[in-house]
Amino acid sequence: MSEAYAVDVENVVKSFGSQKALDGLTLRVKPGEIYGLLGPNGSGKTTLIRAIVGLIAPDSGTVTVLGRRIPDLDILAQVGYMTQQAALYPDLSVEENLRFFAAISGSDGNVTEVLKTVELDQRRGSVVSELSGGMRQRCSLACALVHRPKLLLLDEPTVGVDPQLRVQFWEHFREMAAAGTTILVSSHVMDEAERCQRLGLIRLGKLLTEGTPAEVKATAGTNNLEEAFLKLSGRESE
């Protein structure tokens, strides 16, 4: 990859009414890394991810994804996006959902492989409305992976996923990153944050701290991320 950054967010401001969701935020994700986005509810994580896929136009600042200025619809064929809510067609089967999302990205899709990854290969013919919440979440992740994206944006992907499968998710994320996929993931779960190569702590639409998990802990002067998170995000409000 020739670009220096897979995601380059420069000084982005976005307001909703009087509320500033992103307040001059700058954030850069290197190709092939797993970047964890941490921050309390309402800190702007989801808004940031939505700005990266071009769902929100920033009031000012620029977003560049895989070397292309956003908005750029064509580059989205190489981006996988998973929302907090499992966004699926309830009346279609697992496989039909996957084939649809592959098709709109112009890909034939590696349906079988992706289904194995999320352990839904036994349920490929099941209609989504009959699946449990965790299965839907897995199916939703599969839909974000099915077109072999170079950049994966995951907005709290492991909500409602049991610990065992969560471990498998992360193993798979690591494999993908090793194969060159860039992953930007937002999370509340601290043991997930530990697995990221770099972390960014967001609060009130600004990037507070950035670095490897070890660096973040060092900055906070604690030896556990949970405390670091509380300490660093609390410091700003005082």
Binding site: L73, L76, A87, L88
Partner: protein, 365 residues
Amino acid sequence: MSGHRIAAITSRLLHQFRRDHRTLALLFVAPIVILSLLGYLIRGSASVPDVGIANLDQGPAGATLTSSLEQSSKIHVIAINAPDGDAKLKDGSLVAYIVFPTDFSQKAQQGTIAPEVHVEGSQPGTQAPVLQALQQALVSLAAASSSAVRFQPNVTYLYGGPDLDQLDYFGAAFIGLILFFLVFVVTIVSFLNERSQGTLERLMASPLRRGEIVVGYMLGFLVLALVQAVEVLVFSLAVLKVHNQGNVLLIFGIEVLMALSAVNLGIFLSMFARTEFQAVQFIPLVIVPQVLLSGILFPVSSEPKALQYLSDVLPLTYAVNGLRDVMLKGADLTWPSLQLDIGIVAGFCVLVIVAGIATLRRRIA
């Protein structure tokens, strides 16, 4: 039963509605609007039809009848030249015209009152006030004449005929209305689902163009609408035996245009609804006034003037008019009125497609 628990439910319900201004408006404003509209339509209507009269009678009877018809409260008389009559029926400026032939007085002397009554005929029942007015006018003539007279009007129909019943008249309009209404509701609800289940967000975060989404939707619903249109047409024509004088493919073509309009109107209006509940609220707001004003129930020409302007901007007016022209009058594409109807429905269709595409991106923010 616990009074407290019941009260909790009741009060929660009322509190909820207090914040839902739209539903409140629907509950309390919509009935007044709809009833006022209906009242104005019926009471305010110029319900007296325009009837032409051509008096060719060489004797006095025609003139006597004409002057007493001019006093009639049932019809509004306009003097015309007999050869112009059919043209005036065709352009809709008259619902009927009466000709007193040259030998009218002579025949009346012999005891036979035989005016020619030419009726437009596409709407059943329009001849009734004309014949009633004629019979009332005869009283004046009978007073002048000593012998008993027989009333033998010679009624001819430009379209349809005496066999045409209400079903033929309303059926032609409802074939289109049913399709328009159901396709609209299905589209608006599925487009809202697309948003509420989060898949619209996913579509927007893909290389899909907005136009591709709208056209894809349109084609998908078109398939359903076409099947429905065939079903409705076959049932209406073969089972209900609704009168049809025109080309079935032309009816089908108008239905396709209506279905396309309905799909895109649904996509466009789904922008203004957050929930399926709110989408259903569009029915009284969008559909009911169109049903009242598009000439389905009351001919546009008999509406109060102010409402006619409103009717003239509703696309359904033209669709209904087109369907009736084809089915009741046998109109084909050479008719300027049908060209206008089809042109306007097609234009509306393009308008809502553009509006749907233009507003698509805004609605996920």
